[in-house]
């Protein structure tokens, strides 16, 4: 699914340069649930942006779903982002002036899906994430957890090959964070490949594999022997979330 080889990224700000990634090689297979962790500034977001085709590496190769992306132009990048990648951000990044439904429709709009199909699919996606009653609400009328679920619905809209989530629980309280993790686990059980960036170890432990970065280098890559089950965590404390 993902194969990167010796990927590096150097930012140059004015006179001096910052090496954010210094030669990273790794492979992620279809259906995996991978967490990338590391201290702040270790290069997690940089790696995520490269994987998400939002940025171009300074050196190294990247093969996404069998496509070597190094020779592609901006339009082809946009097209691949649209079809193969679903983003979930820490700050949700929903368009504030659009309703939940319209936000979820956006990726399909850029994929050229017709209005009725777009609407139906967005509705289905939101219903699946327990937001059936909220489809006509604006982001400002929804809680953090609900907003992140809208963002996940949006990430899934074009049925992407991979979901990239950069600190998706960073702006949420721990209980809502667990809720979101349970959604990711559920998605992963249904076959979605997920790459999650987090600096919190207890969040990372919901994945099957943890990759650790330090100063732009990959320092460990370990299988999680017994991943935490977010569904169980939610049920064990007294109150229950409204996630199915």
């Amino acid at each position: 699914m993902i194969k990167i080889n010796n990927l590096s990224k150097t930012y140059s700000t004015g006179s001096f340069t910052v090496p954010a990634l210094r030669g990273i090689s790794l492979e992620i297979a279809r259906g995996e649930f991978v967490a990338i962790t590391g201290a702040s500034g270790s290069g997690k977001s940089t790696l995520m942006n490269l994987l998400g085709l939002l940025d171009r590496p300074s050196a190294g190769s990247y093969i996404l779903d069998g496509i070597d992306v190094s020779g592609l132009n901006d339009d082809e990048y946009a097209r691949l982002r649209n079809r193969k990648i679903g983003f979930v951000f820490q700050a949700f990044n929903l368009l504030p002036r659009l309703t939940a439904l319209k936000n979820v429709e956006l990726p399909m709009l850029y994929a050229g899906v017709g209005l009725t199909e777009r609407r139906t699919r967005a509705m289905e996606e939101l219903t699946r994430l327990g937001l059936k009653e909220r489809i006509h609400h604006f982001p400002s009328e929804l809680s953090g957890g609900q907003n992140q679920r809208v963002a996940i619905a949006r990430a899934l809209a074009n049925d992407p090959a991979i979901v990239l989530a950069d600190e998706p629980t960073g702006a949420l309280d721990s209980q809502t964070g667990v809720e979101i993790m349970s959604i990711f686990q559920e998605l992963n059980r249904n076959g979605t490949t997920i790459v999650l960036v987090t600096h919190e170890l207890d969040i990372a432990c919901h994945s099957q594999r943890i990759i650790r970065l330090e100063d732009g280098l990959l320092i460990s890559d370990e299988k999680v022997t017994a991943p935490l089950d977010a569904g169980k965590e939610m049920r064990s404390p007294a109150e229950q979330g409204d996630v199915q």
């Binding site: 939002l54 940025d55 339009d75 079809r83 990044n93 002036r97 709009l109 850029y110």
Partner: protein, 394 residues
């Protein structure tokens, strides 16, 4: 993504910030409204002017003596025989009448009044399109029979005899008397050309009264609009030859006057149109300014759209369409306001409201072009943003 979708996106975004959108497009509203109103008023005014000038008579021309400085009027420069000969030799001339002007005090049963006297013949009524209220105009046999007759206009008749038909009554003038044979209708000219009170005498009668054998002017009409030029030029040539005095005569036609008037209103429309055009330009710059602000404000939105798969082209087109839709809405409001303004002024000035469909089409296309032109730069700025930079902005 097709254009229809992009238009919807643009409308959505314009709707979500109504007040600002309206203020942004206000320059366009005012510009377009001004253009429509000015053009409408100009065209209406011109139409009315033409209408008024038609009332003087169609295919009208006149010939004067072209006196040089210091020259005094000579009797015999224009003669009654000239009229006969011109009518004989120039088939393009349909009617030709002498006109001699005097100011006289007229006295009737009920009052007196100083009025403009025109000494002329039967053709004059045809040339100047005069309509009788009562009786008749001067006839060709009046002069031959030496009849002492007078034709009044309605107002003068009112002054001299009160209301009612004065035909058959006597008017005293210059210690003589004349019989009223007809009354001419005063037409209601809005331009005020016919506010003057006029009485008509057979030319021969007038010369006998004043004892001065003089004709101030010939007035004539041609058989058709196309024949006005040849009619007046040939008449002039005959006069020059008969009196053996080249360049002694001066001919003019209503057509020429109309053209001159047309030119004046045309230039006025052009000048005011230019001013309106400048206000449109300023409006367009306003739109560009706000679009640039909007691009800066919506940097994050642009980043999000790019992350979700929008190509640079999609962003470019989105902002251009937004600018066009904004200007079109402004143009639409401007058309309505301008049309209303033109109608209002036309009603107040009592002239036909004329906002032609092509003015509206041009205004529409123009506001679209303004939107396109002034939207390109901000839209290009938006499409050149780096997605990561844009996403980081808040």
């Amino acid at each position: 993504m097709n254009i229809g979708e992009l238009v919807l996106v643009a409308i959505e975004s314009i709707k979500s910030n109504r007040l600002r959108s309206f203020l942004t497009t206000l320059g366009i509203v005012i510009g377009i409204a001004a253009v429509i109103a000015v053009v409408g008023i100009g065209q209406g005014g011109r139409a009315m002017l033409m209408q008024e000038m038609e009332k003087f008579g169609t295919n009208l021309f006149g010939i004067w003596v072209n006196y040089q400085e210091g020259e005094t009027m000579r009797p015999g420069d224009l003669q009654m025989t000239d009229i006969t000969i011109i009518k004989e030799k120039v088939p393009q001339v349909k009617y030709l009448a002498p006109a001699t002007y005097e100011k006289m005090q007229l006295r009737g049963e009920k009052g007196q009044k100083s009025v403009q006297i025109i000494g002329t013949n039967a053709d004059y009524a045809q040339i100047r399109n005069l309509k009788t209220r009562w009786g008749r105009f001067i006839r060709s046999d009046d002069a031959a029979a030496g009849r002492r007759v007078i034709v009044l206009d309605e107002k003068t008749a009112q002054n001299l005899f009160g209301s009612g038909n004065p035909v058959g009554k006597r008017v005293m003038l210059m210690n003589n008397s004349a019989v009223v044979v007809g009354v001419i209708k005063n037409d209601s000219s809005t331009l005020g050309f016919s506010s003057q009170q006029i009485a008509y005498l057979p030319w021969s009668f007038l010369t006998r009264l004043t004892d001065r054998d003089i004709i101030h002017e010939f007035q004539g009409s041609a058989v058709s609009k196309e024949e006005v030029e040849p009619a007046m030029n040939l008449s002039k040539k005959i006069l020059e030859r008969r009196h053996n005095s080249p360049d002694h005569y001066f001919a003019y036609s209503m057509e020429q006057e109309m053209e001159a008037a047309n030119k004046v209103t045309g230039i006025m429309t052009l000048i005011i149109g230019c001013i309106a055009g400048i206000s449109l330009l300023v409006g367009g710059i306003g739109v560009m300014n706000i679009m640039l602000v909007s691009v800066t404000e919506r940097t994050r939105e642009i980043g999000i759209r790019m992350a979700l798969g929008a190509r640079r082209r999609d962003i470019l087109v989105q902002f251009i369409i937004e600018s066009i839709v904004l200007c079109l809405l402004g143009g639409l409001i401007g058309i309505i306001l301008g049309y209303g303004g033109a109608m209002l002024i036309a009603r107040l000035a009592k002239w036909p409201p004329l906002v032609s469909w092509w003015t509206i089409v041009v205004a529409f296309i123009f506001s679209m072009a303004v939107g396109l032109f002034f939207g390109i730069y901000p839209a290009n700025q938006a499409s050149k943003l780096d997605p990561i930079e844009a996403l980081r902005r808040d």
